[in-house]
């Protein structure tokens, strides 16, 4: 089953690669798709390293998008230089709060965070649907209620980067956040504490570390990253509106789940998530091309992502075993916190495409 990437229908894969990396416009599209994955992925790194499984990326993106939209609606006349940072901060706060809630529930009431974050996703999606039908709805749309806001103020648009592509400031923000995430996890006292709690909560408690506070902080930071992704998705979109398109994923494009895949692929190290997210962004844009070429539904990509997750988690254990063996043999490890390089794409990507 696990065929190598090269053993697949050549036309399909040529279309995928060409659609993802074939030119400046394609590379720009890939980067745009990669942005939310990177932002969510960095958040996932923070949470998972602290031993908290955050499945709530979807809800946190939505919360961030709502909060940033409210900021833009409330202060439409601020100049861009002030409003853009403000909506980003708004997104971070919204997502952070949405993450902190399951964090607090885990820390102080012992609620399994996997379940609570999933439930928070469902709540956020319905709340967004409510807001877009009621308080935040586009007044110009008239009798036919489309679930979207009005076109948000131009002062909050993320400026396009020079070069004539659709690429906008969000890319730089995402990379900056990845660097900040790296600094937070591996170059700060807080990061040491979060990772210690994630590694062994009991030992950390005996060492006097505030374990409960750390859990809340981890999920809040994680949610904040996803919240920024929400803001970037709204203000970097072509329509510049907050939209619920009625699909299962809506405007989030399932980035809340796909970000987990990117983070795992990047070995839970924020900097390594950058290429991992770019690779998955390529899979998403290339998937659209592949889909047009082979006439297969886009759902293929979701199924593929599932297989990639399974494959990555299954191989993680194998990798640690191999590393333990390598260390036993005597080769020097390259520093405890150094990130493993993102894995090359193999097997899983080819598996389904050859069936479909």
């Amino acid at each position: 089953m696990l065929l190598a990437l090269g053993a697949n229908p050549i036309t399909g894969y040529a279309a995928l690669i060409d659609g993802a990396f074939g030119g400046w416009d394609e590379l720009a599209d890939t980067s745009i798709k990669a942005m939310p994955l990177l932002l969510v992925g960095v958040g996932i790194c923070i949470a998972f390293r602290a031993g908290v499984i955050n499945i709530g990326g979807e809800g946190q993106i939505i919360a961030g998008a709502i909060a940033s939209t409210v900021v833009a609606l409330a202060l439409p006349d601020l100049p861009r230089i002030m409003l853009v940072p403000l909506v980003l901060v708004g997104g971070a706060v919204g997502g952070g709060i949405w993450g902190a809630i399951p964090g607090a529930l885990k820390a102080y009431a012992g609620v399994n965070e996997i379940l609570s974050t999933i439930m928070m996703n469902l709540v956020a999606a319905q709340f967004l649907s409510f807001l877009l039908q009621d308080l935040l709805t586009d007044k110009a749309s008239g009798a036919i209620k489309i679930q979207q806001t009005e076109r948000l103020t131009e002062n909050a648009d993320l400026p396009l980067l020079p070069g004539g592509t659709r690429l906008h400031l969000g890319v730089l923000i995402a990379i900056l956040i990845a660097v900040l995430g790296y600094v937070l996890l591996f170059r700060s006292a807080l990061g040491v504490r979060l990772r210690a709690v994630g590694h062994n909560a009991n030992a950390s408690r005996y060492a006097g570390m505030p374990v409960k506070k750390s859990i809340v902080q981890a999920l809040a930071f994680s949610g904040a990253c996803a919240g920024v992704a929400g803001a970037v998705l709204v203000f970097g979109s072509e329509s510049h509106r907050l939209i619920a398109d009625g699909g299962a994923s809506g405007f989030t494009q399932s980035a809340g789940f796909n970000g987990i895949v990117a983070a795992l692929f990047g070995g839970l190290s924020p900097l390594a998530v950058i290429p991992a997210a770019f690779f998955f962004g390529g899979m998403l844009t290339g998937g659209i091309a592949l889909q047009q070429e082979l006439q297969v539904p886009a759902a293929l990509i979701v199924a593929l992502n599932g297989i990639v997750v399974l494959f990555v988690v299954a191989s993680l254990k194998l990798k640690t075993r191999l590393r333990a063996w390598a260390e036993a043999v005597g080769s020097e490890g390259s520093g405890g916190t150094a990130s493993p390089p993102p894995e090359p794409a193999r097997g899983p990507a080819g598996r389904e495409a050859s069936d479909g």
Partner: protein
């Protein structure tokens, strides 16, 4: 505008609550068995979708819901084997691999549906079976004894699962493996074989839960289960890993869902507010988790892989 508090509406709501609670119950019981043996399967939602699609598709092609159910059982067993391979052999992190199963089920069923079916075609489900005599009792009969076969099957499983877990050698093995696998291993109980068995049972029941849902509504669509599998997992916590507790939770959620539907149909709640109302099951799940989380301890070895050499 209708009135919710009339006898006929209340009876209809309770009856549909039992019907809607059935997928929760089937999936929840299966997950209970798995978790008692120390395996957390977060892929229930994905397996439910796969079961729902296979039941729907086979029924559509063969015209018989019985074949559809067999199809769902086969798919459930296959997914159980896959998950067992990933977690028992590869020792993958159970929480995340479950999410992988979910994404796979979500995407794959949508893919197959669009490719092989395309436009939604309704199927004929199983139909109701009225229990003789009992179903004639006014009100009570309507609520409890006029359902389709999966409903009776699910509720009949509740005492059976209780008996299996608490009164059989296999059940004792399950509990031993779920609490202290090392001790069970010392006594000659095969930890991984026991877990393989519970995973196959749990996965098949999740698949059947999906099949029950698809046959009940007579249709398949993208993301048909819409979070029910995750709620079923929460119900295991709610029910404190006991079959009767899971049944209570399933009934509670079934009735909440039925009430939400009824309020919408009667036009008591409409438009944007129905989105607010649709948050109810998720909010209720969180509240329930807060209340029960400190009450009963989870199986000792939940999510912990067993490796004799470690």
């Amino acid at each position: 505008m209708g009135d919710f508090f009339t006898v006929s509406v209340l009876v209809a709501t309770l009856a549909s609550g039992i019907r809607l609670g059935t997928p929760f119950l089937l999936a929840g019981l299966g997950e209970t068995i798995g978790q008692r043996s120390g395996v957390l399967n977060l892929g229930v939602e994905g397996v439910m979708l796969l079961g729902a699609f296979s039941a729907y598709y086979v029924t559509l092609e063969t015209g018989s819901a019985v074949y559809g159910i067999f199809g769902a059982i086969v798919v459930g067993l296959i997914m159980g084997l896959v998950y067992a391979f990933i977690t028992l052999v590869m020792h993958a992190q159970q929480g995340i691999s479950g999410i992988g199963m979910y994404l796979f089920g979500l995407g794959f069923t949508d893919l197959l549906f669009q490719k092989n079916v395309g436009t939604p075609k309704p199927i004929r489900g199983l139909g109701e079976v009225n229990i003789p005599l009992l179903s004639d009792i006014p009100k009570v009969g309507e609520i409890f004894f006029q359902h389709s076969l999966p409903v009776y099957f699910a509720f009949a499983l509740v005492p059976l699962v209780w008996f299996m877990i608490n009164k059989t050698t296999f059940g004792l093995n399950i509990r031993a493996v779920g609490e202290t696998p090392e001790a069970a291993d010392t006594l000659g109980v095969s930890v991984n074989m026991t877990r393989l068995a519970t995973m196959l049972i749990g996965s098949t029941m999740a698949s059947l839960a999906g099949a029950a849902l698809a046959l009940e509504v007579g249709i398949f669509q993208q993301n048909l289960t819409s979070g029910q599998g995750f709620i079923a997992i929460a119900l295991v916590y709610f029910g404190a890993w006991r079959s009767y507790g899971v049944m209570l939770g399933a009934l509670l959620f079934g009735i909440v869902q039925a009430t939400v539907l009824q309020l919408k149909t009667l036009g008591i709640v409409e438009g944007a507010n129905s989105s607010l109302l649709a948050m109810a099951p998720a909010v209720l799940t969180i509240v329930v988790l807060v209340i029960v989380s400190r009450r009963v301890a989870a199986p000792g070895a939940l999510t912990r892989p067993f490796d004799r050499s470690a």
